[in-house]
């Protein structure tokens, strides 16, 4: 019991901390926020005035047969209605505007933060869940703005106002009427606790149903192969039943709560009339007061009925806030240093010095890798899958940092470099070309507006991409379909060459595609690659023999180590790893032995 209480208190201070952080996003729009805060009591006041005007009308004019006065009362009433309408609307608009603006800022921050996170983060967090953080969770916070927080203040204000007015209209009548409240509150509390618990149960059970569905649909073939349909149906049925039962219970609670509050309203009116009747008879109370009380009581019970739902909305918003801030708190590990190295010219010398790297623990992917590329040199990286070739390109662009040793570009540790400048100077062309939604031009410039149409066309032409682009119905403005499905593999390759060229990097990292393309496109790609590499320091993860032949040197990576280094001829003569790799990967199998002998 005491523990639960302490937890509650802890939870509250924690919630406050979350709200405090949220305030940072609301702060820029505090004027509007204040406006909304000011509108709240005004709305309440207009609302509270209405029954009072009724009282005036009944006591002052109707009972005294004053038609003119009644007209005035009618106008006042209309005015109060209009006032309530307008101020509520302004309040709501202001709140929503603040909510939308600050949440848009929050989303933008989240997105920007995502971009800075290290790639290891994305290995651990599935894309779907990250999308949920930016959409569903932020939306849950929005719900709290729409239907929760501020209106709770207004409701409380209204309730307090009604009590005060009733007390001042007629103290004893009010006290007698409000005797309905304490028992009602007790019963409400009873239901509130239970419906909160069932609400939680419902949420958990729905999540269980959905998780089960998702998993079963993904693994349906396994279920069918082992003829386990009956067992799975029974399991699903059970979860479905649990969910239904919780909902049945919740329906009972909610219907009871709803009806209880309604009945309490009528009973309060009855009690009030009972007591009031004797006093009206005795001339202590005017009839109008009774009418006003009836109206106040009607207005009193509406917000009470809605407290429950608003409370749950708030709770799920808090959970969402917590998750969102958790994502924002994920540390960015790869950043530019405080005093970044920003040279005006980059020559393109690359040095790996005793580089060790592991994605996880002691599982070394690179072990003590050292080599140097002079500006303009071309090196082919060769090795079996899993030998660590791609990791080298990742380290060079600082997608991850080395655990031991260092990497230098132009003699400066890349961790000293300005991160963006470094990456701009390294053009990466991967075998799996990623295309963004948007048109062909956007996919070459990647949204850079300082690349002119002419420069764009020149780049495309230089790497032989212009021909197929010209054949597209809308040329450079042809929209790219999802995952580039309207372009062939070879076309996507050429497009990515144009992209690299448009950025004119000093260093080029090329991961050659293994997939085969038609001979004509193959020639275009070969030609484009040669042009692209000219004058640039190039590190190519080679899959084609022609590429290897044109390299100045070949580095053979095997199990994370540099095992052989030299030209094609030298390495073939060594009859080591390269010799075997060569036969396996680069030479057609039936000719393999002959070529090896020739070498």
């Amino acid at each position: 019991m005491a523990d639960a209480q302490r937890e509650d208190v802890l939870g509250q201070s924690y919630d406050l901390a979350l709200l405090h952080r949220l305030w940072r996003y609301v702060r820029p729009y505090r004027k509007q926020f204040m406006l909304s805060l000011v509108c709240l009591p005004v709305t309440s006041a207009f609302l509270l005035a209405q029954p009072y005007i009724l009282k005036l009308a009944v006591d002052g004019y109707i009972t005294h047969h004053d038609s003119q006065g009644l007209a005035v009362a009618g106008l006042l009433f209309a005015g109060a209605l209009l006032g309530e309408f307008l101020f509520f609307y302004w309040q709501y608009q202001a709140t929503m505007s603040v909510a939308q603006k600050s949440l848009a800022d929050l989303r933008a921050d989240l997105f920007a933060h995502l971009q800075e996170l290290p790639s290891s983060f994305f290995d651990r967090h599935p894309v779907g869940r990250l999308v949920t953080r930016l959409t569903t969770d932020v939306d849950a916070i929005n719900e709290a703005f729409t239907a929760g927080t501020l209106t709770i203040f207004m409701d409380l204000l209204t309730l307090a106002g009604i009590i005060v007015i009733m007390l001042s209209l007629d103290l004893r009548l009010a006290l007698v009427t409000l005797t309905v409240l304490p028992p009602l509150m007790l019963i409400l509390e009873f239901f509130r606790k239970r419906s909160r618990d069932t609400y939680r149960a419902i949420r958990d059970r729905l999540a269980r149903i959905n998780a089960f569905l998702q998993e079963t649909l993904s693994g349906i073939v396994v279920v069918q192969l082992f003829a386990q349909e009956k067992k799975f149906f029974a399991e699903f049925n059970q979860r479905n039943r649990d969910f239904r039962d919780a909902n049945h219970l919740s329906n009972i609670y909610e219907a009871s709560l709803f009806s209880l509050v309604e009945a309490a309203g009528s009973i309060a009116v009855a009690v009030m009339l009972w007591y009031g009747a004797s006093r009206v008879g005795a001339g202590f109370i005017a009839l109008g007061t009774l009418v006003a009380f009836v109206e106040y009581l009607q207005k009193f019970f509406v917000p009470i009925r809605e407290f429950g739902t608003k409370y749950t909305t708030m709770q799920s918003a808090m959970t969402a806030l917590e998750r969102v801030f958790q994502l924002l708190d994920t540390p960015v590990t790869i950043t530019s240093p405080a005093m970044p190295h920003r040279p005006t010219r980059v020559r393109g010398q690359i040095t790996f010095e005793h580089v060790w790297f592991a994605y996880k623990g002691d599982d070394w992917v690179l072990r003590d890798v050292s080599f140097t590329l002079e500006p303009g040199q071309k090196i082919a990286l060769v090795g079996a899958t899993g030998s660590g070739k791609t990791t080298i390109s990742k380290l060079l662009t600082r997608s991850a940092d080395t655990q031991q040793g260092r990497i230098l570009v132009d003699g400066v540790d890349i961790r000293e470099w300005d991160l963006h400048l470094l990456r701009r100077q390294i053009g990466v062309v991967l075998q799996d070309v990623f295309l963004f939604s948007g048109d062909v031009a956007t996919n070459i410039t990647l949204g850079r507006t300082d690349i002119t149409d002419e420069a764009l066309a020149r780049a495309a032409q230089y790497v032989n991409a212009d021909r197929f682009i010209a054949q597209l119905p809308r040329g450079y403005h042809e929209p790219i379909r999802e995952r580039g499905s309207n372009l062939s593999g070879g076309q996507r390759q050429l497009l990515s060459f144009a992209r690299a060229l448009a950025y004119d990097p000093a260093i080029l990292v090329l991961d050659e595609a293994t997939s085969s393309v038609d001979p004509e496109t193959e020639l275009l790609i070969q030609d484009a690659m040669t042009k692209l590499m000219a004058g640039r320091t190039t590190l190519v993860i080679a899959h084609r023999f022609s590429t290897i032949q044109h390299a100045d040197r070949i580095i053979v990576l095997h199990k994370g180590q540099v095992r052989e280094l030299g030209t094609h001829q030298e390495l073939i003569e060594q009859r080591g790893i390269y010799w075997r790799l060569y036969q396996l990967q680069y030479a057609p199998p039936s000719h393999g032995p002959q070529l090896a002998e020739a070498g």
Partner: protein
């Protein structure tokens, strides 16, 4: 709509009970303003306190009984909505289980999930909240209007004059809200796919240092979404005041017009109070009318979409053949089998004229390059797909004439892609067993070379698989799926390149162990590593969907054909791995 009626009629008695409560509750609710009127009139006439007390007591009694009846009517009808939801979900699940692999290759899981979640909810709302309000609203209107007309027809007319307008406004706004909501949802979907794209393409963005561009692109959609949301909010902001306006304007009219009637002595103050009461009671049903329309429309559309799923015909028709208990020898025959994927437009054949037999108890390996059709060939045996022409037999019987349940109890299939359920390890191994038999689970795990791995986990066989428990390596997953098939103890075992992530030595050891422990079982195995399957009784070499060669390892190597080529290449690879 046939299905809608069938659900409605299934619960007709409970609906009837709910409706009785609803009518009774509405009747009582409508008597409260009348009681109010009488009380006020009694007070005005300065009747005795005893008389007034009677009115008040009746009012309290009526309010209490009405409260109870109302609670009953609400949860009875809402619960039917939940029951239909339950039935519908079960029906959908049962039906989805019957649909075959081909269907799931065409349909995305995400799409199915969203139908099962959102559309089922829409149907539930229609049959719960929708039905309740469809009955409640007219009931309230009839009662209130007749009571009001009895008191003062003219005042009734004037008081209700704004209602048609309000109803029209609510209806119109509901439609606009629907449209705007759709737009906001589209905006949210755009944001989602943008985030999805941003995360998937992050390596490119980073490589070209184009984070600013991505932020700007996201910002554009984010702003658009913000604008749409605000425009929806502007509209939504009208609703609460409108709702209050419904009763407020009526109240104003009653006060003004009715008040002058009272002054003129044509109406009692009690009537005036009663009028106000009725207008309060009508406020909610009037609002409900507005959104009722969209609930009905959405529910119907959802039901239509669900119907499409429920009408989807299974590709694989269950055979009418004999019982599950029959034991078989395990002889397999492929007779002139051709196969083309039915769903893939071009209809290009993947397998051509495949004919071979596997004697009971033999081990046969299928070998070939990537895309040669070997996986497809094995998938035909448990009828994941049906042959386009030709037949496949087990013990001479066409598998299409066996019952599916029997067939799948004969054939233990270990798929390429190791799918595991996020339950305990022992539950995964004992997947096909009626209950967990630890002796059998341990035996299967040991043959699959997994026992030691499992014992290394702190919770052993009680470890949860997947995110909430231990993350298994690719090789462990594959060995676990093998153990799952072994525990099922089927007379035929099919391994569809099921050990690709396991190292060569282990694969070879497992296959050896398998031969010893599964003596008498027919084993069909694909491996991309020849050295693992060289001991097979017969090796079938497939290329481009045709059988090129068959024979033992020694035969095939001696022939110097495709098999010999692949073998030589793999020998080199292994040599390399050992360097």
């Amino acid at each position: 709509m046939h299905r809608l009626w069938s659900y409605l009629s299934r619960y007709r008695f409970r609906y009837a009970r709910g409706i009785v409560c609803l009518v009774a509750s509405a009747t009582l609710a409508m008597s409260i303003p009348l009681l109010l009127k009488w009380t006020v009139e009694a007070i005005q006439r300065k009747q005795s306190f005893r008389d007034i007390s009677w009115y008040v007591l009746v009012m309290i009694a009526v309010a209490s009984v009405q409260g109870v009846l109302r609670a009953f009517s609400r949860f009875m009808i809402f619960n039917i909505g939940r029951d239909v939801e339950f039935d519908l979900r079960n029906d959908l699940f049962a039906h989805l289980q019957k649909l075959s692999l081909g269907y799931y290759q065409r349909q995305s899981t995400g799409d199915l999930m969203s139908r099962l979640v959102n559309d089922v909810t829409a149907v539930r709302l229609l049959l719960g909240l929708g039905v309740l309000n469809l009955l409640n609203t007219p009931l309230y209107y009839i009662y209130a209007i007749s009571a009001m007309v009895m008191m003062d027809p003219m005042l009734t007319l004037v008081a209700l004059a704004p209602y048609p307008f309000l109803l029209f406004a609510v209806k119109r706004m509901s439609r606009m809200m629907m449209e705007k909501t759709v737009k906001v949802q589209e905006g949210l979907a755009n944001l989602s796919s943008r985030v999805q794209e941003g995360v998937s393409g992050i390596h490119v963005v980073r490589a070209y240092a184009r984070e600013d561009w991505q932020n700007a692109e996201f910002g554009r959609l984010n702003d658009a979404f913000k604008e749409e949301s605000m425009s929806l909010a502007r509209l939504r902001g009208f609703f609460p005041p409108l709702m209050k306006g419904v009763s407020g304007i009526g109240l104003l009219v009653v006060l003004w017009y009715g008040g002058s009637h009272v002054i003129a002595g044509r109406l009692s103050l009690g009537d005036l109070v009663a009028f106000m009461g009725y207008l309060h009671l009508l406020a909610w049903p009037t609002m409900a009318l507005g959104f009722l329309i969209s609930i009905v429309q959405r529910g119907q559309a959802a039901l239509k979409r669900l119907e499409v799923i429920l009408q989807a015909r299974p590709d694989i028709i269950d055979g009418q053949g004999d019982g599950i208990d029959r034991s078989i020898r395990g002889e397999i025959g492929f007779h002139h089998v051709d196969f083309a994927y039915p769903s893939m437009g071009n209809g290009r054949a993947v397998l051509h004229d495949i004919t071979f037999t596997v004697p009971a108890g033999a081990t046969v390996a299928v070998v070939g390059r990537m895309g040669s059709g070997k996986s497809t060939l094995l998938q035909l045996l448990p009828r994941l797909f049906d042959v386009s022409s030709g037949t496949i037999t087990i013990d001479g019987q066409d598998i299409r004439t066996c019952s599916l349940a029997a067939l799948r109890r004969w054939v233990g299939f270990v798929p390429q892609d190791p799918f595991l359920f996020s339950t305990l390890i022992k539950d995964n191994v004992a997947f096909a067993l009626p209950e967990v038999d630890m002796a059998q689970v341990r035996r299967a795990a040991s043959v699959a070379n997994l026992a030691r791995d499992i014992e290394d986990f702190p919770r052993g066989y009680d470890t949860v698989v997947g995110e909430r428990g231990v993350t298994l390596s690719g090789g462990q997953k594959q060995r676990l799926t093998l153990a799952r098939a072994l525990a099922a103890d089927t007379p035929i075992l099919v391994l569809d390149d099921a050990l690709s992530s396991v190292d060569v030595q282990t694969e070879r050891a497992i296959l050896h162990e398998l031969r010893d422990t599964t003596r008498g079982k027919t084993v069909l195995v694909i491996s991309h590593r020849i050295s693992a399957v060289r001991d097979a009784d017969v090796i079938v070499v497939l290329d481009d969907g045709r059988i090129m060669e068959t024979g033992t390892h020694e035969d095939l190597v001696a022939r110097g054909g495709l098999y010999a080529d692949i073998f030589q290449q793999q020998a080199l690879e292994e040599e390399l791995a050992e360097l």
